[in-house]
Each structure stands twice: as structure tokens, then as C-alpha cells.
């Protein structure tokens, strides 16, 4: 058990009431064959989602920033933990949109494929997300108050936060996001120059020495350009 889990548990007990309310809203279904579920994260204790909802967002996040053979992706960075937790804190006002959005994703998914989103293949998930990334919503997306594109943009924004924000917010597990882009994270004691390839190699300009202006003031203002 690492600190992150512990603090999340503490967090859970503090927000028990809220959590209960959320869970009763959703349908607690079996997880099915979640495509992106990782062996390292067997127990799911979402505070904002039912398991089904959480796995849906996790799958979307993984399609947004997918792992490949070069580098890890959203699931590895625990993006879902970030999103789940942030919906009870600084992203709380977005929670209703998530619940509506997940519902509509599943409706659109069922209309197109006869299955819920998390039961689609990766290719089908990408296909559906490409379809909802349009101003015209796909069949099944019936809520005009939450355009499909708006919902996707929200999940994109929060996926990037879950990947690249400070790990203290629950995502960016093991600084995976920072390592991915070669960013060392905050360094209290900073860096010494040279900082990059260009300042290391391009010559500095030589500037003329400073000559103080000694004039008596308004009467003898020197001309603007001293060259």
C-alpha cells in the first residue's frame, strides 16, 4: 500500500456521505472485460463513479493518451484516479456532466454496436470517440445541453491533467507523464546554464560598454540612439 492509496482511503471516509449519494445514482454492474484494466490495479474504489462508470472513463482516457511500445499511457499513469478524485474537489462542478456524458456514450455505443462502451474493441472505441468529436452528435446522443464534443473535450482536459499535473492529485503515477516528455518536475534548486542545445552552441552577442548619461537634464537631452 503506498501513500497515495492510504490518503485516498482517508479521503474516502471523509467524503463518505457524498460517495454514498453518487453510488446510488449509478448502476452497479459487473466490470465486464475491461480492455485497459491492469493487473496492478485490481481493486477499484471510485469516489465519484460506479465501477462501470469509472472503467468507461479510464478506457476513454487510454484512447486519448494510449500506451504504445515506446511509452506508457493514461492507464499506467492512474489518470482515472486523478479524474475520480478531482470530481470531488477542484473539478466538482463537472461531475454532473460526467454522469450524463457516460450515460450518453453508452447510449451512442449501444445504438451503433449494440454494446456498452467498455465492451467495445479498441478500434470501435476509437471509432465512436471520433464520431462524438464532431459538432453533430452521433445517433443515441440525445442531450443537447451536453454536446458530445464538449464532453469529449472535458475528458481530454482532465486526462492531460491526470497525466501531467503534480502526482499529489492522484494521477501522473511515478511521474510517468513527466518522464514521458523529459520534464524533471519541480526542482527547488533549479538548473545551471546551458539550458538547451541552442544557448549552449550559439555565440553570445557582444554589446558596447555602458556610458552613463551625465547631462544636466532637460536642456541637453541626448538623442535617442547612441550608436
Amino acid at each position: 500500500m503506498d501513500d497515495r492509496r492510504l490518503s485516498r482511503r482517508a479521503f474516502l471516509s471523509r467524503t463518505g456521505q457524498v460517495t454514498g449519494g453518487v453510488i446510488s445514482l449509478g448502476v452497479l454492474g459487473t466490470a465486464g472485460k475491461a480492455l485497459t484494466r491492469q493487473a496492478s490495479k485490481p481493486s477499484r474504489e471510485f469516489v465519484s463513479f460506479t465501477e462501470q462508470q469509472g472503467l468507461t472513463i479510464e478506457a476513454m482516457a487510454e484512447r486519448i493518451m494510449p500506451a504504445d511500445d515506446q511509452s506508457p499511457g493514461a492507464t499506467d499513469a492512474h489518470v482515472i484516479d486523478y479524474i475520480d478524485r478531482s470530481l470531488t474537489t477542484h473539478n466538482a462542478e463537472d461531475r454532473p456532466n460526467y454522469l450524463t456524458g457516460i450515460d450518453l456514450m453508452d447510449k451512442a455505443s449501444e445504438t451503433a454496436y449494440g454494446k456498452k462502451f467498455i465492451d467495445l474493441t479498441v478500434d470501435q472505441q476509437v471509432e465512436l470517440m471520433t464520431a462524438i468529436d464532431k459538432r453533430e452528435p452521433p445517433p443515441g446522443w440525445t442531450d443537447t445541453a451536453l454536446p458530445s464534443q464538449t464532453f469529449l473535450r472535458l475528458v481530454i482536459e482532465h486526462t492531460m491533467e491526470g497525466l501531467f499535473a503534480d502526482p499529489q492529485y492522484g494521477g501522473n503515477h511515478n511521474e510517468i507523464g513527466w518522464k514521458m516528455v523529459n520534464f524533471p518536475g519541480p526542482k527547488a534548486f533549479g538548473y545551471d546554464p546551458p539550458f538547451g542545445a541552442y544557448d549552449a552552441n550559439l555565440p553570445e552577442i557582444e554589446y558596447p560598454p555602458f556610458v552613463p548619461y551625465k547631462g544636466p537634464g532637460k536642456q541637453e537631452q541626448p538623442s535617442k540612439k547612441r550608436k
Binding site: 477542484h90 499529489q168 545551471d192 546554464p193 538547451g196 544557448d199 555602458f210
Partner: protein, 553 residues
């Protein structure tokens, strides 16, 4: 290393101050120090909290997205013109805490040029705008610029910019270390025949005045400096004011009205504490340093039988002539790593197109190029780039490939003064104090987009000359607010067409001073803060002198 200077400072209580200073930002911090070190008793009000260095963090999410720690957490409203219903926005880009906007600012600190003070006489009127000369010129301010540079701690190379106005002394500190964005700017400038020079920065590059030198941690613009190397008023002049034992800061206290007597002199303030309890405090002189939006707002919230249209507003000009600076930018992508997450924001400036010479460029108002490493991860990962998907493997590869290989050529320009661009009191929306939020009415003068087009091309030219493999530029757009809040209580010799005189003294109320960006007559090209501080040093000297002579207070 971090001394957290403010921690060990004396806290005293002053019941009968000589002077009340409202707002503790760039101007207010200087004012508090200048008055208290000359023996006056000062109470300073700040509606935000008194955070210390240890409260500031290197956390992009917290500082850049979430409101509260850095971003001002109250809304304002915006409308393009007086006939449109205002919309609730968060467009006043300021910080509300002891130190004001200097805690999170970038620190770019150049002096205005001689021409900025005389645009009307040098270049004539502009249709649809109200361009005027300042009642002061560069030489009136030169000693105070110097004072600001030395007291605050500005680093730079005095001989490097051929377009700089003359100066008596060099900068107190050597310039900031050049980053790759600066090196590429040097390369481009040499190819194009332009003149790049080290950015003057209110960031100390050597130990100075009991603070430690900058360590180039990169958490700079938009962050409170965790090393105290950024010369915010929080770690420079404010501790000095408190150490006199003659200055008290009342933080988390919002002034909601300035009171006047029958003679029309300011008597003090009415303010709300954290629990919204109302209090009064009297003083001989009141100095308002609430910034270009919140100073006119406070005056408009202080009507009286004598000043029915708001305090100090016999001209009717309080809140009018709101100016920002106008921006355009281009982002360039390069083959090798720049690693712009290191170091201060900006290490080179180009002022070849500074002078607002309509004869030469076909438009009024100049600008500057500020090549920089603008691209923090959260923002960068979500950038809108033509033909690049917002998500999926291609986006991911693009982020990985480019995060450390890009820079921005920011162009920052003059904004023209128009009477119809205003700050007023919103009729409906209230802030957490129960007070009307500022309503911004702003429309760009057509000239703004013309200048914008010119500078966007220069920004692209710079990146191309530096060898960028791809360049993406911003389109023109009307700003709804800004970080540079100027012009709303303009300075002038004529009480009918200006709000304060050349010492920032209200024409109407002799013991009332308005010292901040609101007194600007023209906007300059960018980065107003050093000038705001020079004005504050100068006004403080005048206030002390006038009080000694018994002319005020």
C-alpha cells in the same frame, strides 16, 4: 536558503495613521515603504491574504488553473459596448494578496521611452482615439526609474539596447542567463538586422539586499518565487516598511468606501473585515493603489453629496480610457531541445519596432518582441494546433516530440486610449464582499488589429530566421481583460480632462492620491510595472514634502 523574510517581521497596531494606503501591490508596496521609512505612520489595506513565501508552490495545476492561490478568485463582467448586456467572466488577470501582481508577475522591467510620454505632440491625433501627452516626461521619471531598479532589484545590461532612453546608472545586477529562446532570438535578430538584448528583469542574478540569486527553477511567470529571487514587493519593500514599526498591514480587509468631509477632503475609509464586519479608520491622507480596474471601482463606490458621480470625478473621467496591451504571438518548433522549462520566462527583447511612427509603418503605436519559453505542460498538451488531433496516438507523439523543442515569439503592443473603453460598477453581479464587481467595456480600436497584423508577421519572421521547422500563429481577437490595467484615472494638467495631476494627486481632493496603472496616459508597449513603481516613488516623495509643508493632511 529561503529566509521567508516576512515571517520574522514585527506586527504592530496603529489606531491613528497619518496615511492610509489601499492595495499592497507594485505601487502600494513602494508607497508603504517610502512613507514609513520617512517617519509617517501607515496603515495599508489589502483585500487578499498575507501569504508568505512558504505558501507559494511549484504546482502548475494549482497556480495556472485553480483560482485562489495565484489567480484572483472573483469574477468581473465584460461587454463590448454600453448597449450590450454584460457577461460574467474572469478576465481581470490580477493577483489579490499582499504584494499584489508582483508576486506572480514575469518581472520584465524596462523603462518607457521618451516618445511614450509625448505621443500626441510627436505623432499627432488619431481618429477614434484620445491620444494625449503625459504631464510628465521621461526626464521627470528618470531618477525614479533608477530608484526603482536599485530598491527593487532589477537585472539587465544597460548598454545593450540601442533604442533604450539614456540613463545615468547601469542596472544594479548583471542580466539573466540566456536561454535557448534567447539564443535563437539573437541568431534571428542578427540575420534580420534587428537588435536583441538581454531582458531587464526584476529577478536578482546575484545575492542582493539579503536575498539569494535566482536558481533558474523555471516556476516563474504565474508563480510566487519560492527562492525570493523575484523582486516582488512582498520580499523587497514591504518587509522594509514593516521593519520601521510604523506600518501595519490589514490583510483580508476590503475597503468599500473612501469618506470625505464637507470641505471635500478625504477623511478615511470604511472597510469590511474577513467576517464582513464593517469598520472605519481615519487618516490625514489616503493613497489608492488598487490597480487600473480596482482604483476606479473604489472611487465609483464612494459617491457623496459633494461628489455624486464618484469620488475625485468632477471630470467624469474616472473609469474611462481603459487600456491594456495588445498581444499577438507565433509559436515555433525546432529540431533540437530548447528545454524552456528551465530559467526565467524571457531572456531577450527586441525593440526595433517600438516607435509609434504612423508615417513609417502605416499605423499608430509600436510594439516589442519578447521571445520566450511559453509552454507549460498542462497548457502545451492541450494547445489547439491546426491539423493536429486533440487526442490519440498522434497527439501523444506530438507532445513527446515537441514539449522541449518549442518557443513563442510574443509581440506586445500599444493599445490606444478610447473614452468608451471603461471600468464601471456592474449593475447586478456582486463579489464575495457583497460589492459590485467591475464591469469592463472594451472594444479594440481598428488600429490595434493593424498593428497586430504587422507584429504577427514580425514574430513569424523571427522564428523562421531562427530556423523553426513549423510556425503556428494566433489570430486577432478583442481582449476582454488583461494583466496590464491602465488609463482609468488618467494624469494631466487640466482638471477638466484628467483625474490626477502630475504627482498622482487628485485634482478634486487634495489629500487623495491615486498611484498605479490607472494614471497612465498612453499604454506603452508592455510591462507597465517599473513605471508604476517609479510613479509611486515620486508621488511618495511629493506626499511627504506636502505634508511637511502643511499643504495637505
Amino acid at each position: 536558503m529561503t529566509s521567508d523574510m516576512a515571517m520574522a517581521l514585527p506586527t504592530i497596531k496603529i489606531d491613528r495613521p497619518d496615511v492610509i494606503v489601499i492595495g499592497t501591490g507594485a505601487a502600494g508596496g513602494v508607497m508603504m515603504k517610502e512613507l514609513s521609512t520617512r517617519g509617517l505612520k501607515v496603515v495599508a489595506f489589502e483585500m487578499g491574504p498575507f501569504l508568505k513565501t512558504r505558501d507559494y508552490v511549484q504546482d502548475e495545476l494549482k497556480c495556472m488553473k485553480l483560482r485562489g492561490l495565484i489567480k484572483y478568485d472573483q469574477p468581473n463582467t465584460y461587454r463590448p459596448d454600453a448597449n450590450t448586456e454584460p457577461a460574467v467572466v474572469y478576465s481581470v488577470n490580477m493577483q489579490s494578496n499582499v504584494g499584489g501582481g508582483t508576486v506572480h508577475y514575469t518581472g520584465i522591467s524596462w523603462r518607457l521611452h521618451e516618445s511614450d510620454f509625448k505621443e500626441r505632440s510627436l505623432f499627432g491625433p488619431v481618429a477614434g482615439a484620445d491620444v494625449q501627452d503625459w504631464p510628465v516626461d521621461y526626464w521627470d521619471l528618470e531618477p525614479y526609474y533608477e530608484k526603482a531598479e536599485y530598491e527593487i532589484g532589477v537585472s539587465g545590461l544597460a548598454s545593450a539596447n540601442p533604442f533604450d532612453p539614456p540613463r545615468r546608472k547601469p542596472y544594479p545586477l548583471p542580466p539573466v542567463a540566456r536561454k535557448s529562446s534567447g539564443a535563437l532570438a539573437d541568431l534571428a535578430a542578427q540575420k534580420l538586422g534587428w537588435h536583441s538584448y538581454p531582458t531587464p528583469m526584476a529577478i536578482i542574478t546575484q545575492d542582493y539586499d539579503s536575498r539569494g540569486a535566482c536558481m533558474n527553477c523555471g516556476f516563474c511567470e504565474g508563480y510566487g518565487c519560492t527562492m525570493e529571487a523575484k523582486s516582488s514587493t512582498l520580499v523587497t519593500v514591504i518587509p522594509k516598511a514593516l521593519r520601521t514599526g510604523k506600518c501595519e498591514i490589514r490583510a483580508d480587509c476590503c475597503v468599500r468606501e473612501i469618506t470625505v468631509d464637507e470641505q471635500g477632503l478625504a477623511t478615511g475609509v470604511v472597510y469590511l473585515d474577513k467576517n464582513l464586519n464593517e469598520h472605519r479608520l481615519e487618516a490625514r491622507v489616503v493613497v489608492v493603489c488598487c490597480n487600473g480596474v480596482f482604483t476606479p471601482r473604489l472611487l465609483l463606490m464612494s459617491p457623496s453629496t459633494r461628489f455624486p458621480n464618484g469620488l475625485a470625478n468632477s471630470s467624469g473621467y474616472v473609469g474611462k480610457h481603459l487600456m491594456f496591451n495588445y498581444y499577438q504571438s507565433a509559436r515555433g518548433f525546432f529540431e533540437k531541445e530548447l528545454n524552456e522549462y528551465k530559467g526565467v520566462m524571457d531572456t531577450r527583447v527586441i525593440q526595433d519596432f517600438y516607435e509609434p511612427n504612423p508615417g513609417k509603418h502605416g499605423f499608430f503605436g509600436g510594439g516589442v518582441l519578447e521571445p520566450r519559453g511559453d509552454g507549460e505542460l498542462l497548457a502545451f498538451s492541450q494547445l489547439n494546433i491546426p491539423r493536429l488531433p486533440r487526442w490519440g496516438p498522434e497527439r501523444k507523439q506530438w507532445i513527446i516530440q515537441n514539449f522541449n523543442r518549442q518557443m513563442v515569439a510574443l509581440a506586445s503592443m500599444e493599445s490606444l486610449s478610447q473614452e468608451t473603453n471603461t471600468v464601471s460598477l456592474d449593475a447586478k453581479v456582486k463579489d464575495k464582499w457583497g460589492l459590485p464587481v467591475p464591469c469592463i467595456t472594451y472594444k479594440s480600436h481598428p488600429n490595434e488589429f493593424t498593428v497586430g497584423d504587422f507584429f504577427r508577421e514580425r514574430a513569424k519572421e523571427l522564428l523562421a530566421a531562427a530556423g523553426a521547422t513549423r510556425i503556428v500563429a494566433t489570430p486577432n481577437a478583442v481582449p476582454k481583460g488583461d494583466a496590464h490595467l491602465l488609463g482609468t484615472c488618467r494624469m494631466g494638467n487640466d482638471p477638466r480632462t484628467s483625474v490626477v495631476n502630475k504627482f498622482n494627486q487628485s485634482h478634486d481632493v487634495k489629500n487623495l492620491f491615486l498611484v498605479d496603472g490607472s494614471s497612465f496616459v498612453t499604454s506603452g508597449k508592455s510591462n507597465p510595472t517599473l513605471t508604476i513603481q517609479a510613479l509611486s516613488f515620486r508621488a511618495a516623495e511629493y506626499i511627504v514634502d506636502q505634508m511637511k509643508k502643511g499643504n495637505i493632511g
